[in-house]
């Protein structure tokens, strides 16, 4: 049993209090510990990806107590891939936060950042539904603090909406967990997968309600229409590095949908037939359409990026809702792409804001360092809108290909392609107003000259765009890997037997009594 699997949860959990307690007044020390912590996390996550890439399922039993009574942390291909994606994103976000000075505009940015990482990584690694709830709460509590970092009335008001919406989501989650526990008597995911399959066809009411409640919770997290209302305001008002980190939070919802609805409630399961397999796809198509329409309709750049996140989540869920290995593989490829592209766009929006003090899509004098910012915006917008040559195009192609044989193929193709066109127009309009037409505006004589952004800010965003380019160049390898991930998801027997059958402390004397 390897102890490394718990390290992505434990390391930030130790670093965060250390930063609060020992380095409270020294932003320099906080920065060093935060960056070094994330670098170590990247190395550990890389090791975990390597260890699970051959299909091994890593299991860590806390306190050596066996599942389902003990708490387990499980790493398979999907979990470790998401963990690596999170920490790589966190590094670039952190570099941007430091170089732009965002972390110094309020207290405890780095401590909250580490707690946020702890929650996200824990949610990806846990093998237990109740601990998924606990890690959701950890990442939410940290995100409440990060969301209102640096204060301001507009941000606090958006923060209230964000917190209230998520509190309702947490309450729903608890209702779902209570219903599942009442029906099955366990909350361990692998054990649940075994027991849900035993439920007879005549007593499915409780478990069907639980499955739908759980899907609603994850749909709130994934900002699926009509549960997306919390996202535009809170992402637009959040500090830019925080919004960029939040780009992974919607993917936590997508991850949970993939995990629960391939293992516990697989599409061929009779007791939940006709629920998520029927209704998830239309909802995802509507979110795709509404998100991309929002891109065209937005009057401010930050709202535009927030709506593009909703649209890209719609695309991810469309692909997941096919519930086929090809669909999940395409969804995972697109998740990596949209996380990086969304984060880059939020950071670029902040570069624009630092130059012109607002993000209204109206004609204003050009910003300092406009050429480089415009270039990055161009690349990130191409990626997000899904134009060749960047990875958004390939991801979209994979989704369309996966949907080719399905019943709703015409609808999927029409909405995916139509919404792409709308989003291209939206991004092009915003870019031309912000960067191109701005050069024709007379600069007033007494206009204050805002300094150009720091070089490291460009390095952070350039790094994200470079990762997008690498995601495109190595698309063959990436897609092969996500196909393997999806294959493992649709063969859950090794995962389940690893979790349930690995003995722990006192296992030989325990008599199972269901």
């Amino acid at each position: 049993m390897t102890h490394w699997l718990i390290a992505p949860v434990v390391l930030p959990a130790i670093l965060a209090p250390f930063i609060v307690l020992a380095a409270r007044y020294h932003i320099g020390i906080q920065r060093v510990f935060s960056v070094v912590g994330v670098l170590i996390l990247i190395m550990i996550s890389g090791g975990l990806v390597w260890a699970t890439s051959d299909g091994t399922v890593l299991l860590y039993q806390l306190g050596d107590w066996a599942a389902p009574f003990g708490i387990v942390v499980v790493g398979d291909r999907l979990s470790t891939m998401m963990v690596l994606l999170t920490v790589v994103l966190a590094l670039f976000v952190l570099v941007y936060a430091i170089s732009s000075g965002w972390d110094d505009r309020g207290n405890h940015f780095h401590a909250l950042f580490q707690f946020q990482l702890m929650g996200i990584l824990g949610a990806f690694l846990t093998g237990d539904l109740f601990n998924l709830f606990v890690f959701f709460e950890v990442l939410l509590i940290a995100s409440y603090g990060l969301m209102i970092h640096a204060g301001g009335t507009a941000r606090l008001r958006a923060g209230v909406q964000y917190v209230l919406f998520n509190l309702i989501g947490s309450t729903l989650f608890l209702f779902a967990l209570g219903a599942i526990y009442a029906e099955t008597g366990t909350l361990n995911m692998a054990d649940l997968a075994n027991r849900v399959a035993l439920i007879g066809p005549e007593e499915t009411v409780g478990i069907r309600v639980a499955a739908v409640l759980l899907l609603l919770v994850f749909a709130i997290k994934a900002a699926l229409v009509p549960l997306h209302f919390w996202l535009p305001s809170s992402y637009a008002e959040a500090p830019a590095p925080v919004a960029a980190l939040f780009a992974i939070m919607t993917k936590v919802g997508a991850y949970a949908i993939i995990r629960v609805y391939t293992m516990i409630f697989p599409p061929e399961l009779a007791v939940t037939s006709g629920l998520h397999t029927t209704w998830l796809l239309p909802a995802a198509l509507i979110s795709l359409a509404i998100g991309m329409t929002g891109v065209l309709a937005a009057k401010k750049l930050d709202r535009l990026v927030a709506f593009s996140i909703i649209g890209s989540m719609g695309m991810v869920i469309v692909s997941i809702a096919l519930f086929s290995p090809e669909g999940i593989a395409a969804a995972l490829y697109y998740i990596v792409h949209s996380t990086l592209a969304g984060a880059a766009l939020f950071l670029i929006a902040d570069l624009v804001r630092s130059g012109r003090k607002n993000l209204d899509l109206t004609l204003q004098p050009p910003i300092a360092g406009a050429a480089l910012t415009a270039g990055l915006y161009f690349a990130a917008a191409i990626a997000m809108a899904g134009l060749p040559p960047l990875s958004g195009f390939l991801g979209k192609l994979l989704v369309l290909d996966a949907a080719f044989d399905t019943r709703l193929m015409v609808w999927i193709w029409a909405i995916v392609l139509g919404s792409s066109l709308v989003s291209i127009v939206g991004f092009a309009r915003a870019g031309s107003v912000l960067f191109w037409k701005a050069t024709s505006v007379e600069v007033p004589e007494d206009a204050p000259i805002s300094p150009a952004p720091a070089t490291m800010s460009y390095v952070a965003i350039g790094g994200l765009v470079a990762l997008l380019a690498a995601h495109t160049v190595f698309a063959g390898q990436m897609h092969r890997y996500t196909t393997q991930v999806a294959a493992q998801l649709f063969e859950p027997a090794p995962y389940i037997s690893t979790v349930v059958d690995t003995p722990g402390k006192l296992s030989e004397t325990t008599t199972e009594d269901h």
């Binding site: 509590i141 409440y144 507009a154 909406q161 917190v163 509190l167 947490s170 009442a182 309709a297 607002n358």
Partner: protein, 118 residues
């Protein structure tokens, strides 16, 4: 007993949902508190209602109540309690800053988008 608990959960949930749909911060927070009370009782009963039975192993006792929901409820109570405190503080900050405690986006507010999000 089951009827009493079930109707208590139902009434608290209904009242909570009504209050959550209000427009001002305080009723919404109260509504969420009611919802969390309801869900705590619900979680508690998810291990079946047993009267007078201990949750931990004792000598000479054959019937036990399920201890796991009690542990779950304890976690849920702590988390919801802390969350409520956080949202009260943020809501108070927003109210003091803008002199307005509506939870929806006000179109008249400066520096606020009008994409119809609420």
């Amino acid at each position: 007993m089951e009827l009493l608990i079930a109707s208590a959960i139902g009434i608290m949930t209904a009242a909570g949902i009504y209050l959550v749909l209000r427009l001002r911060t305080l009723p919404v927070i109260l509504g969420i508190s009611l919802l969390t009370y309801a869900v705590n009782v619900f979680l508690f009963t998810s291990g079946r209602v047993t009267i007078g039975a201990p949750p931990v192993l004792r000598d000479n006792i054959t019937t036990y109540t399920d201890p796991l929901p009690q542990a779950l409820v304890l976690t849920a109570i702590v988390i919801s309690f802390g969350m409520t405190a956080v949202v009260v503080m943020i809501g108070l900050g927003a109210f003091l800053g803008s002199d307005d405690d509506h939870v929806d986006d006000r179109p008249a507010l400066p520096d606020d988008g009008s994409e119809g999000t609420s």
